[in-house]
């Protein structure tokens, strides 16, 4: 009965134990149930608000500015090779 959680956890790249799956399934049900309240409010002609304070598009001059040095950017990485960080096999 935890197929839904398994699907979501897979999308979210989250490994869960059997117990976590069971608990989160129950939590998700309860939380979604409490969200049903939103069905009561009519929003037919209402636009969504992505940003609470309106902002305009801002452009900057296409000019190279100083940024983090490669050495500093890699300081927190454990596996580095020739100025790159290493990750697991993707293909």
């Amino acid at each position: 009965m935890t197929e839904r959680i398994e699907k979501v956890a897979n999308i979210a790249r989250l490994e869960l134990t059997a117990e976590e799956k069971k608990n989160f399934e129950k939590d998700l049900d309860n939380i979604l149930d409490s969200f049903k309240k939103l069905e009561k409010i009519d929003t037919t002609n209402t636009e969504p608000t992505f940003q609470p304070v309106e902002v305009k598009n801002i452009m900057r001059k296409d000019k190279i500015e100083t940024s983090l040095k490669q050495k500093d950017a890699l300081k927190n990485a454990k596996d580095i090779e020739e100025g790159y960080f290493k990750g697991p096999k993707a293909i």
Binding site: I5, V8, A9, N10, I11, A12, R13, L14, E15, L16, T17, E20, F24, D27, L28, N30, I31, L32, S34, F35, K37, L38, K40, I41, T43, T46, E47, P48, T49, F50, Q51, P52, V53, V55, K56, I58, R60, L68, D72, A73, K75, N76, A77, K78, D79, F85, K86, G87, P88, K89, A90
Partner: protein
């Protein structure tokens, strides 16, 4: 010189005048901080060595002139570990300062440590911290509130000049300020640059101060606010000196009392807040009953929007580049999933699942888009109210700081419901300040003042007048 009970403004004055032996002051400050830490656990990191280096370079003519400042752990501090309360960032040392931090440093602040919080800000009681739970300064069997719990608790406990920098997504400055009996100022969304903040929910996160007095918060906000080219959502507007709103009278100012914010409130908390409002009337303010009909929808709308944004923000924590990194093996999906399963905490996982679900194909319109539309309605409610009044006054939290034994029994739905008074204003991105207004069962109660977008001045003015009573 006697440093205990010294105010922030006295410290700054004495330091500028050259009357403070900074090394002696900080040796006492850290001794006191270590003692407090043993009893209450307010810090993930106490950065004494870094502070000593900064003291050597201190320019006393700056606005803060060497004032101790603590920083919530989700704000990046160059060279000082910043974990956002999560095991997945357990060794992360940022190679840069957040804009709020660099602005503070330019003004002579000394970073003394990183305060405990719920993991990534996911919580109301700081019990979801991966680095120990901070205890309430007045009663250690109770919570400091969250998620800036360490900031609230330390601000109350330290008997020396200090200001904390906290952060709020859905109430994380106001809640600990109310539960610990200090002042918490959440500015308008975009007032303070979010550059260098470890994001929870980008359209909601706001950096702001927690302090002993309203004036101290106004001062800190004045220094860290302003447009930043590194944050496109930061407000394009000249920054005010917010301290000029302190020390004024409030005659004729209009205060709205939203009925919905007094429903299901602890009776004694309600009494204390209503008393405070009467005192504001005695100072010459006029009150007006206001209705905010969308209040009951704020919790679901907030938890959908916040977790959707959080679930995408947390995608970057995958066990590479920084933070927790295990031996790389297996396929990337397997490695990422294992790392995240191992290092993310319970509530972080719950919110990632909820947020991922609410934006999945087939559910996006029903949950995420619906919540964004409800957010529009909530903002319209507030805008209508601010056409009639200058500020709104409410309780900050519906109860006093709960006991840990009570918190343990709460389900996630019951825990989320505790945020009913703070998530609406946070969704709307309006500024708010929590100021102590008495006690109930010896625990502090907070008066919450909400202002229109960019009108921090008005809430500071009223909070300051109230504080001076």
């Amino acid at each position: 010189m006697q440093y205990s009970k010294m105010s922030v403004s006295d410290f700054i004055k004495e330091s500028k005048d050259g009357n403070i032996d900074t090394k002696d002051f900080y040796s006492k400050f850290f001794e006191e901080t270590e003692n407090i830490q043993k009893k209450y656990n307010y810090f993930v990191t106490i950065s004494k060595k870094d502070a000593e280096k900064e003291i050597d370079k201190l320019d006393r003519k700056t606005r803060l002139s060497g004032l101790p400042v603590s920083v919530k752990d989700n704000i990046c501090t160059k060279g000082i570990k910043s974990t956002a309360g999560s095991k997945i960032l357990k060794n992360y040392i940022p190679p840069f300062d957040a804009t709020a931090i660099s602005r503070g440093k330019q003004n002579g602040s000394i970073i003394i440590g990183k305060t405990v919080q719920d993991e990534f800000g996911f919580g109301t009681f700081s019990t979801y911290s991966a680095y120990g739970i901070p205890k309430n300064p007045i009663d250690t069997t109770r919570s400091c509130g969250g998620s800036s719990g360490g900031a609230g608790g330390f601000t109350k406990t330290i008997n020396m000049p200090h200001i904390a920098i906290g952060e709020s997504t859905g109430g994380s400055i106001s809640c600990p300020a109310a539960f610990c009996g200090v002042v918490g100022l959440t500015p308008t969304y975009g007032r303070v640059s979010r550059y260098g903040l470890i994001d929870y929910a980008n359209s909601l996160d706001k950096i702001g101060p927690i302090s002993k007095t309203v004036k101290d918060s106004a001062l800190m906000l004045s220094l860290i606010a302003g447009k930043d080219p590194l944050d496109q959502t930061s407000i394009q507007e000249d920054t005010y000196d917010f301290t000029k709103y302190t020390g004024k009278d409030i005659k004729g100012m209009k205060i709205g009392i939203p009925n919905e914010y007094f429903n299901n409130i602890d009776k004694d908390v309600e009494k204390k807040v209503r008393n405070a409002i009467s005192q504001l009337e005695e100072l010459g303010a006029k009150t007006l009953d206001i209705t905010l009909p969308t209040t009951e929808y704020a919790i679901p709308a907030y938890y959908i929007i916040a977790t959707v944004e959080a679930s995408t923000n947390l995608a970057k924590y995958c066990g590479m580049r920084y933070g927790a990194q295990d031996e790389i093996k297996g396929h990337f999906t397997e490695y990422f999933s294992t790392t995240r399963g191992k290092y993310l905490g319970d509530e972080a996982k719950r919110r990632v699942i909820l947020g991922t679900y609410a934006r999945m194909a087939g559910y996006r319109d029903q949950y995420y888009l619906k919540a964004l539309k409800v957010r529009t309605k909530i903002i319209e409610d507030f805008k209508k109210a601010f056409n009639k009044v200058d500020v709104l006054a409410t309780p900050t939290m519906p109860m006093i700081a709960p006991k840990f034994s009570e918190i343990e029994k709460l389900t996630p739905v019951e825990t989320y419901a505790m945020d009913i008074l703070t998530v609406g204003p946070n969704l709307a991105g309006i500024p708010m300040i929590s100021v102590p207004c008495g006690t109930s069962k010896e625990m502090p109660v907070g008066l919450h003042l909400l202002g229109n977008h960019k009108e921090e001045g008005k809430i500071i003015q009223i909070a300051d007048a109230f504080e001076r009573l």
